[in-house]
């Protein structure tokens, strides 16, 4: 078990800097998810922790030991690759025992360790098979088994579920999380899928174009996004963003619609400049009489909730309602955001107010 410290790490490929000074502290036994859009540098950071990419500047420490110049095999980490990287010419047993066999461990030790990992993952019946003869989920498990056999201090996962179909992904998501809790091994997990990040992480690191946007527990990121990027990235469907400014105790969009302000932002504290008003689709409710009139454009029932694309003045907003509202395009709904759950951002800096 070990903590991982990433201190002001930068990475350049030639003259292009792809990580601009990233710092993350990962506690012992913590499950940390690096999440962000493609090209944000999350996989590069993971590969730097693994030792597959060198560090241009800054420091990475595993268990208190700076590993900048430690070769990957001595870092006491194990990695699960996106394409699993199973050795196609070896059986499941040999794949899982490869690291031990390289270390010239006695046969009984290899058997015991592989057996232990196979039991943890339910792979006992597949040990004699070759990777080609396995399904996607089984390969995924073998890749994890290979990591478990090494009994590492840190697990690294590089988008391990992106090659699986949607249903299996949900199942493996829970399996990986459950496994991590059982083994209590520090884990760094890279994904571009914010649902995976939200459901699995103890702590999420949101990255964007080589910078860390926010670090925090999943619900904190959901409840108090530090900036517009995090607000838009976390949550599905995405948060509605409405431009405007505060005038006369309410937020007014350019077309004059008045939106209720959060309690803390009373008239006294009102900032003058242009703002962004953020409200999540699920924080709208129907309020006959007091609601803002919104024209229904598209209705998307999903069963558990109904998503409605609405037009309010000049802005398009999405509302998600738990109740089954029987509405049709063209109708006008009175919608009202919950003032306690709306967010205000500075339009220039993107920061939360």
């Amino acid at each position: 078990m070990a903590s991982v410290s990433v201190r002001n790490v930068r990475k350049s490929f030639g003259s292009t800097e792809v990580l601009h000074g990233v710092s993350v502290e990962i506690a012992d036994g913590e499950f940390v998810v690096l999440v962000g859009p493609s090209g944000c540098g999350k996989s590069t950071l993971l590969r730097m922790i693994a030792g597959l990419e060198n560090i241009t500047s800054g420091e990475i420490a595993i268990g208190g030991r700076v590993v900048n110049n430690v070769p990957p095999k001595d870092r006491d980490i194990a990695m699960v690759f996106q394409n699993y990287a199973l050795y196609p010419h070896m059986t499941v047993r040999d794949n899982m025992g490869f690291s031990l066999s390289l270390a010239k461990a006695p046969r009984e030790v290899i058997e015991a360790e592989v057996g232990r990992a196979a039991r943890i993952l339910g792979l006992e019946g597949l040990l004699h098979r070759y990777p080609r003869q396995l399904s996607g989920g089984q390969r995924q498990r073998v890749a994890m088994g290979r990591a478990i056999v090494r009994n590492p201090q840190v697990f690294l996962f590089d988008e391990p579920l992106s090659n699986l179909d949607a249903k299996l992904r949900v199942q493996m998501r829970a399996e990986i999380r459950e496994l991590q809790l059982r083994l209590n091994t520090t884990t760094v997990y890279v994904t571009h899928d914010q649902i995976e990040a939200m459901t699995m992480a103890d702590k999420i690191v949101v990255m964007n174009s080589g910078n860390v946007e926010q670090i925090g527990p999943p619900l904190e990121l959901y409840d108090r996004p530090a900036n517009l990027f995090v607000a838009g990235f976390i949550g599905s469907p995405a948060m509605n963003m409405i431009e405007g400014r505060i005038e006369g105790g309410a937020f007014r969009s350019p077309d004059g619609t008045a939106w209720p302000l959060p309690p803390a932002n009373g008239p006294g504290a009102a900032p003058a400049g242009p703002l962004i008003y953020g409200v999540r689709p699920e924080h709208f409710r129907l309020a006959p009489g007091e609601g803002i009139p919104a024209t229904v454009q598209v209705v998307e029932p999903t069963g558990s909730e109904t998503q409605v694309l609405l037009r309010v003045g000049g802005a398009s907003v999405v509302g998600a309602f738990r109740e089954r509202i029987g509405t049709k395009p063209g109708e006008v709904l009175p919608v009202l955001p919950d003032p306690a759950l709306v967010h205000l951002f500075d339009r220039e800096t993107g920061r939360r107010l």
């Binding site: 030792g51 095999k73 990287a85 050795y87 010419h89 059986t91 490869f98 070759y130 003869q133």
Partner: protein, 318 residues
């Protein structure tokens, strides 16, 4: 409002003509489609092969049609030391040249699989020995191996002063044999290197990364990942290489013509020497037919070595 029924009309069904019926019939199509391929194979492969085998059992000479003599030609060859020298040298030549080509070709392929500056230029240069006509490069080697004008002798004797006598490359049996093998290796490397490079590039880099994390040294990554994954393509390239080398003719005939004293005859050059130059067509054919068992063996080797390995079987779920 009156409703007018549409006049009932249907497109007149045309009876297919006899040509259309012929082209629709499966037996005709099978014959018509197979004919060109079968015809070419019969004319250019089966007939010459059959004729060669038939000639081997006759006493045909150039300008005189022969009689069936059964195994007489082979009985004669059994007692012919020159034939046995050629058999020995063919096997020796193939074995040593194949080992050399694969050692150097694999080394080159591994080198080219790395990131090198001017990678594509280097790859193009490597192909050069292969695209130069063999006879042309054979003449170049003949010049390199010349007793008086050899550049190797010049470098060693006149430039470096390491020796005081010129090399005698082609003047006696063993040096001539190894000189020819060296020329064959030089010519064969590009084929091996490029094929193996293609094989190396099918190996996913993430396997090497996984092995790196699993603690494999560079040598272990080579022996435990690269070699097993390269085996399928290595086997097929090796089979081709063995067949090409065993049937080699041009290099030997252009550089030594089998000399000195028949010591560098391959079976192919000896067959030509006896059959065409010596006019004993039947005997030449018998020597050529004697190559068939060796080639069948090489092909069987490939058949069994190439039989899909266990790990390549099974459904891919990608």
């Amino acid at each position: 409002m009156s409703v007018t029924a549409a006049p009932s009309w249907s497109r007149a069904r045309q009876e297919p003509g006899w040509l259309a019926r012929v082209f629709d019939s499966k037996p005709f199509l099978i014959v018509a489609c197979l004919f060109p391929a079968v015809g070419l194979l019969m004319v250019f492969l089966t007939y010459p092969l059959g004729l060669g085998i038939w000639l081997a059992f006759t006493d045909t000479r150039i300008g005189r049609s022969g009689q069936w003599v059964g195994l007489e030609n082979f009985e004669y060859l059994m007692g012919d030391p020159t034939f046995w020298t050629a058999v020995f040298y063919s096997v020796f030549y193939t074995a040593v040249a194949t080992v050399g080509k694969f050692a150097l070709g694999l080394w080159l392929a591994l080198l080219l699989n790395n990131h090198l500056p001017f990678k594509s230029l280097i790859r193009a240069i490597i192909l050069l020995p292969w695209i130069v006509p063999t006879v042309l490069s054979a003449i170049a080697f003949w010049w390199i191996y010349d007793p008086q004008f050899s550049i190797i002798s010049y470098v060693f004797v006149d430039v470096l002063g390491l020796r005081d006598r010129y090399f005698d490359f082609l003047g006696s049996a063993w040096p001539a044999r190894f000189s020819l093998i060296a020329a064959n290796i030089w010519r064969g490397i590009p084929f091996v290197a490029i094929c193996l490079l293609a094989g190396l590039q099918t190996i996913s880099p993430s396997l090497y990364e996984a092995a790196l994390l699993d603690g494999a040294t560079p040598w272990q990554r080579f022996t435990r990942i690269t070699v097993p994954l390269l085996m399928p393509i290595l086997a097929i390239v090796m089979t081709f290489s063995i067949i090409f080398t065993f049937t080699d003719f041009q290099l030997v005939y252009a550089i030594t013509r089998g000399g000195p004293v028949n010591s560098t005859h391959l079976m192919a050059t000896l067959a030509f020497q006896r059959g065409i130059a010596g006019q004993e067509l039947a005997e030449g054919a018998a020597i050529a037919v004697a190559m068939i068992p060796f080639l069948v063996f090489a092909t069987l080797f490939s058949y069994f070595a190439l039989a899909r390995r266990k790990w390549q079987q099974g459904e891919s779920n990608d």
